[in-house]
């Protein structure tokens, strides 16, 4: 540990600049301490102090500390590493009709961020786990993070809303910093845990800290930990929250909550995003832009036909059960680092520590399943590959199958997985693989909205963008050796077709396969020709039903569950299901009655998806992200949440 004179603080700026670093740090802007470019010590908020309370933040003059008079303002490292709005790629339609996609990747110059607190370094670690630690790593986040040198500050005077001692993320800086300052009236005690930090320190005129100064830091930290303005008990919280989804408190807080999204915007760990596809008026030049989103918006949980979280109580519950609940299962840590921002910047002052305390009062415990482990992290820049439609098969009035050739070919094309299929300027949507291999993909698409309408209107020779495939495939290896019942509703047959083809091709492993398929009407039956062919296959047994028959229809009429009986569900069978959630719910119950256990029942889930890689948070479902942990799940993994209103 070294000692730096107060008057020498400007030398730190000089040292950082000498390394070519642009310096960001705390400074007073519009009545708050913000994180902004600063030139020298004179821009730091020396002599300012903050008063924070629920829904309340005021700065006033007081004291003469440079860092210690105040705690965190609305900004955090999130702004620096994960900007609120950024272009991911540009797309253009070339003269030959082909699409060109070019990634937009940042080229961040070297930077230094000054005055970062322990809670925010913990938050940066957590954001990194979300954006770089899954099966995919976001290169933009990594580039910005790696370009920054962190000069952290130990908090000796925690604020009224701080509770990092409870979340074990402060007040002492123990991770993520290159230099750590502890402020004293006469100057700063400086530690340099990294090589980069030591290089900066070497440029400064410091002296070794005396033993009593070192001891003072320890004492100050202990005292700070004992002086937190708030506290919270996170122990066993995930199980309690998920066991209390009908707790009266959710409704009570929803009467105050405005569903405005301020809490998630200021939270240094919240990472949800959405995207837009701006284009020129002729559509020839387009891009995809990612922007911060919030689970408090309606769109966050939208899928065609409605949203999963219409009510404010659904949204608050979604947020809190993720932040301090499912987060633990997903990232091994709570998503709350105890910074208090969501309390201060909530316009109506909702205090999560109070809400948590109230929710702990109650009955109910539910164990959370663990999400699957993923092999770490291939780079994923979220840029589609150019592809061409080679054939279009009309399946019904509103469904077509596109055969798509991807210029560079694709790895890992397996039934159950999906691709993000895009048209520049129009949108990008998740579509299951309904057949094909690495060179040629089949996608069966129902026109329900703008993007799917446009995809269904394509002709051979038209260009599309494809990224993927993503997600987990049907576990054919685990299913082999037993009878298999495949239950499909409507377009739900699409992700199952490839699996059916594989099972037909491997009769030794799949000696008895039953397909129970329900369509709206005979005219809506997909893959009619292929189904006819399957009737000749000895291992395949077809059971069809329609909701509304035509005069020529001789088969079953009624819901698909009516097809499930001892004949179509042989003893010892496993099951695969895809269809609307309500249909899957009844199917699972019926299958259970017929003796198919949850762990041999596989379903595929559908949630709003923007990234397909675990980055955007849109598809979060309990301890899972449907995109990377699903979309195929064994039912025992999701039973605890399945069908729960608001999820």
């Amino acid at each position: 540990m070294q000692f730096l004179e107060r008057a020498a603080l400007d030398a730190l700026f000089d040292a950082l600049r000498a390394e070519g670093r642009a310096v960001l740090g705390p400074t007073v802007v519009d009545g708050a301490i913000r994180l902004a470019p600063i030139d020298g010590a004179q821009d730091l908020p020396a002599g300012w102090t903050d008063a924070q309370g629920p829904g309340h933040y005021r700065l006033r003059r007081g004291g003469d500390a440079t860092f210690d008079g105040y705690v965190v303002g609305p900004d955090s490292l999130k702004q620096v590493f994960f900007p609120s709005k950024e272009t991911l790629y540009r797309a253009e339609r070339r003269a030959d009709g082909k699409l060109g996609f070019s990634p937009v990747l940042p080229d961040p110059g070297a930077s230094a961020v000054l005055g970062v607190r322990a809670c925010d370094l913990a938050a940066a670690r957590i954001q990194r786990a979300a954006l770089e630690g899954g099966p995919y790593a976001e290169p933009r986040h990594r580039a910005r993070r790696e370009a920054a040198l962190i000069v952290a500050v130990n908090c000796t005077r925690p604020g009224a809303l701080c509770f990092c001692a409870s979340t074990e993320t402060g007040p002492r800086v123990t991770e993520g910093a290159d230099l750590v300052l502890t402020e004293r009236p006469d100057g700063f005690l400086v530690e340099a845990p990294t090589q980069a930090g030591r290089a900066v320190l070497a440029r400064l005129d410091t002296r070794p800290a005396a033993a009593d100064e070192v001891a003072w830091v320890d004492d100050a930290m202990r005292e700070a930990a004992a002086n937190m303005g708030r506290e919270v008990d996170l122990d066993g919280l995930p199980e309690q929250l998920f066991g209390r989804l009908d707790h009266a408190r959710w409704k009570i807080v929803a009467e105050r909550c405005l569903a405005c999204g301020n809490c998630t915007s200021v939270c240094p760990t919240c990472f949800c995003s959405t995207s837009e596809h701006p284009s020129s008026i002729d559509g020839d030049e387009a891009s995809r832009v990612r922007l911060w989103d919030s689970c408090f918006t309606e769109e966050h949980a939208y899928i065609h036909g409605g949203g999963f979280r219409p009510r404010t109580e659904d949204r608050y519950r979604q947020w809190l059960t993720h932040k301090v609940g499912a987060w633990v299962a997903q990232f091994g840590t709570s998503g709350c680092v105890g910074c208090g921002r969501c309390i201060a910047w909530c316009p109506v002052g909702i205090d999560l520590t109070e809400e948590i305390a109230a929710l702990r009062q109650g009955e109910g415990i539910a164990a959370l399943p663990a999400p699957p482990a993923h092999a770490c992290a291939t780079d994923e820049d979220l840029v589609p590959r150019a592809a061409t439609v080679t054939r279009v098969e009309r399946e019904s009035d509103d469904v077509v199958t596109l055969h798509v050739a991807v210029d560079e070919g694709l790895q890992g094309v397996l039934p159950g997985r999906f691709c993000q299929v895009s048209l520049p300027g129009i949108g990008e949507v998740p579509i299951s693989i309904s057949g094909g291999d690495g060179a040629l993909l089949e996608h069966t698409i129902r026109a329900v909205g703008r993007a799917t309408d446009a995809l269904c209107a394509l002709s051979p020779g038209d260009a599309v963008g494809i990224r993927g495939p993503y997600g987990r495939a049907w576990p054919l290896e685990a299913l082999a050796g037993r009878p298999v019942v495949v239950v499909a509703g409507g377009i739900g047959l699409a992700p199952l077709r490839g699996a059916l083809r594989s099972m037909i091709a491997r009769p030794d492993e799949f000696p008895e396969v039953h397909l129970c398929y329900g369509a709206r009407s005979p005219a809506d039956v997909l893959y009619a020709k292929e189904l006819l062919g399957w009737m000749e296959v000895p291992t395949m047994h077809l059971h069809l039903t329609v909701d509304h028959a035509s005069p020529a229809w001789l088969g079953h009429v009624g819901v698909v569950t009516r097809l499930l009986d001892a004949r179509s569900v042989p003893a010892g069978a496993s099951a695969m299901i895809c269809g609307p959630e309500i249909m899957m719910r009844f199917t699972v119950e019926r299958l259970a009655q017929l003796g198919v256990p949850d762990e041999r029942t596989w379903v595929t889930m559908e949630r709003n998806m923007q990234c397909a890689t675990g980055f955007c948070g849109r598809c979060q479902y309990g301890p899972y992200f449907v995109c990377k942990d699903g979309p195929v799940f064994s039912f025992d993994q999701i039973r605890f949440l399945f069908g729960e209103e608001g999820y």
């Binding site: 802007v29 519009d30 009545g31 708050a32 913000r34 829904g55 309340h56 933040y57 005021r58 700065l59 609305p74 900004d75 702004q79 609120s84 709005k85 009467e255 105050r256 909550c257 405005l258 569903a259 405005c260 999204g261 301020n262 915007s265 200021v266 837009e276 596809h277 701006p278 284009s279 020129s280 008026i281 002729d282 559509g283 922007l291 911060w292 989103d293 919030s294 918006t297 309606e298 769109e299 219409p310 009510r311 404010t312 201060a344 910047w345 909530c346 316009p347 109506v348 002052g349 300027g425 129009i426 949108g427 909205g449 703008r450 993007a451 309408d453 446009a454």
Partner: protein, 259 residues
């Protein structure tokens, strides 16, 4: 003849401010004019409505007399995609304040020759009278959103016009919250985004001119502001601004009015 989609821009009771936003889009206007056949745009061109069909109709203004209502029904019948633009068309506008008053009495007080005045008792949004395909909010509407709407229509995408709070834009823009940091009553948390949080970015509370967002908890915000000392009359005035007649704001202001 060109096969370009026909655009008509119509007006009811309004100030023309929203239509003028299109005139103000100088850079984009040329591209719009190239891509669309601007068949009717009274404030900018002298072309008459030829009685033909419109692929895209933008309707500004509220319905405040019988003649406007008849005109509106006619436009709707001749338009494939009808978009209401601005606070007047989407909520009744500032002139909807008369909906809380006795109109005949106001006419007697204000006009020298009351018999010249032909008006309905209320000023109401277009969607009260005909089906509307999309709403563009604001007083006036935002140029960027207007260009996005037209581009999205032409290209075939869902317009990137987000039904979220002004706070979302405010935070993305990195503005400091005026409600929390200054105690300024701000309608941002319950107001539909689209303006780019322009008032908060200049240090003023949001006036709500884009109208309520989905799930606008106007009473919850009002209760909080009242507990911080904002008098009920001030809250009523705040909610009864440019979009007073929008149900979420109207109901909350009525509840405050009744005490």
């Amino acid at each position: 003849m060109s096969a370009r989609p026909r655009l008509g821009i119509f007006k009811m009771a309004s100030c023309d401010g929203c239509q003028l936003q299109l005139v103000g889009c100088e850079d984009e206007l040329l591209a719009v004019a190239g891509a669309l056949d601007i068949a009717f745009f009274a404030v900018a061109t002298s072309k008459k409505d030829d009685g033909g069909r419109y692929d895209l109709a933008l309707v500004e203004g509220s319905v405040s007399n019988e003649e406007q209502l008849a005109h509106l029904l006619d436009i709707r019948a001749r338009s494939d995609f009808l978009v209401t633009i601005g606070a007047c068309a989407t909520s009744g506008g500032i002139q909807a304040l008369r909906n809380w008053r006795d109109v005949d009495e106001m006419i007697r007080v204000v006009y020298a020759t009351p018999s010249y005045i032909d008006t309905l008792a209320t000023s109401t949004p277009i969607a009260d009278h005909v089906p509307v395909d999309f709403e563009l909010r604001g007083c006036p509407i935002d140029k960027g959103q207007l260009v996005e709407l037209i581009t999205a229509f032409l290209v075939g995408r869902r317009p990137a016009i987000r039904d979220e709070s002004v706070c979302m834009e405010c935070k993305r823009a990195g503005a400091t919250c005026v409600l929390v940091a200054k105690g300024d009553p701000c309608l941002g948390p319950i107001t539909h985004a689209g303006c780019g949080a322009i008032c908060p970015r200049f240090g003023r509370g949001c006036y709500g001119c884009f109208g309520p967002k989905e799930r606008a908890a106007a009473s919850a915000l009002a209760a909080h502001l009242a507990s911080g000392g904002v008098p009920a009359e001030a809250l009523v005035r705040k909610l009864r601004g440019f979009t007073a007649w929008a149900p979420a704001f109207r109901d909350a202001s009525d509840a405050l009015d009744e005490g």
